[in-house]
């Protein structure tokens, strides 16, 4: 879109911090870029950059404009996707911010299923904790968020929510392996392998422990669920993960036992997008598919 090039230039200057650096990215001379910025500010009616001795920085007006630019670009993408849909073609790109639990099994499965039907749709998946996921949405850097226990904020519109039991995971040889359900206090007698504190599961477990007047003292704390699972599988410890992040069939060497609902309350997985935003067709359809999958 030639007529929107000026927006790219503004963003480039914003990101690069100076016209001269942005000029390289934009494949244009610094002087030409400079004059386009000036011309834009002229007709926009106010400056959008502060001129500092070391470069350019967006002023408050520029920040407002930047948000408009992103909104506008995203809406144009939606139009494009809808137009493509008119001709029966579905192409496009879906950007998802999601909790790590969705990565090993759930999301790959859903994406494959979707792409089997619409091979021209591409995906970006970013691991985000619940705070970051929502920030991504606000900055138009993701279309969808799929997070466990989002920090409920005003700009998040929930498309689907589903309760997720917290599962204890352990070696198949573990003393507790045969149980159908566990209380948290039973787990506390074994080594604990816990996700790092920014994860929803950890937050829930901490809350429960606090209610029991206990303190969780993990032998290992990690932000990698992969490591968590491996440690639980091969050591004598107990790890935790929500249901959707597990696939018992894939790990016959392990046992997965739900923590009693009486212990861990809350615990929902949320699918949503930015409030008031119209999603591109591809993202919308994918969201519907995910919602259906979550419901079953």
């Amino acid at each position: 879109m030639r007529h929107l090039l000026i927006y790219d230039m503004i963003e480039a200057v914003h990101r690069s911090g100076s016209i001269r650096k942005a000029a390289e990215v934009t494949h244009i001379t610094a002087s030409a870029l400079n004059r386009r910025i000036q011309a834009f500010e002229d007709e926009f009616g106010s400056e959008i950059f502060e001129r500092l001795p070391r470069g350019m920085r967006l002023n408050p007006a520029g920040e407002l404009l930047l948000h408009h630019i992103r909104l506008q670009r995203q809406d144009l993408a939606r139009v494009h996707s809808q137009v493509a849909d008119l001709s029966g073609i579905r192409r496009g790109h879906v950007r998802i911010a999601c909790s790590q639990a969705l990565l090993p099994y759930f999301l790959p499965r859903e994406i494959s299923k979707y792409r089997a039907e619409f091979p021209d749709v591409t995906f970006t998946v970013n691991v985000r904790d619940r705070i970051q996921a929502e920030r991504d949405l606000v900055n138009f850097e993701s279309d969808l968020a799929l997070v466990f226990e989002p920090a409920h904020m005003v700009d998040f519109e929930v498309l689907h929510a589903v309760r997720q039991p917290v599962m204890a995971m352990m070696s198949a040889a573990h003393p507790l392996a045969g149980r159908r359900s566990l209380r948290l206090r039973e787990c506390l007698e074994y080594d604990l392998v816990l996700p790092a504190s920014q994860f929803g599961v950890r937050v829930l477990l901490e809350q429960t422990a606090a209610r029991l007047g206990q303190k969780l003292e993990p032998v290992l704390e990690t932000d990698s669920f992969e490591m968590l699972q491996q440690l639980a599988a091969h050591g004598r410890g107990i790890g935790f993960q929500i249901l959707v992040g597990l696939d018992p069939l894939a790990r016959p060497d392990m046992a997965f036992v739900p923590i009693s609902e009486r212990d861990v309350t809350g615990g929902e997985l949320f699918l949503g997008h930015l409030k008031g935003r119209a999603l591109p067709v591809a993202a919308l359809k994918f969201a519907n598919q995910v919602a259906t999958a979550l419901a079953s």
Copy 2:
């Protein structure tokens, strides 16, 4: 905004129905305009107009694009107004679609009050029935709607709602003039002067009459409340209007008596805007002022 000129051109062609006519409006040659449209379709990736022997018409893709254009333009206006606000200036333009009842007293008063504080804000007020008002919002032709009994639709976001009694109005010498409240059936014994059927008051009265097993047989039906009021003042008939459309002090020659709540149910005045739309600062502040005024 020079870089958005192409959008103006597209809209001009859409409205004019042909390139040659649009060329006059755009102050450009038909050939130049033609080539700009073609260039745009080229980079947009698909045609947006159907070429008919008698001119151009938007195709479905064009309709989608047009909506984006309007959204985009409106959001840019919001940014502009917010930027102006940053410098302490409040300027801008507020477009209101409202029921006729608001015209004689309420809106002029509110607009004057607002402009006393912010003289650089201008207004457009369009009389619209409840259907048209909402269509205006969808087409981004109004920022706010203030209507009696809107035909509730999905795209309408209510900012404020307030119950409005239906008032019977009559000459001060009328037999019913001294009453504190009236039942509708009492009114039916006199000449009825009714607003036309697209108005909310009329709809409510018809519903009530139907419930009573009666039929309203007006001696006069008009879409002008001015005429309604004059007829009620000088004849022996009874007219109807909602409370906000009246000012007893301005008409000492008339009497205004509320119809009993038991007769006329519903009857709310709604202030709202298009769902999911971010209003310009001026419109937002004005909406707040109106909401406050309605609440008192």
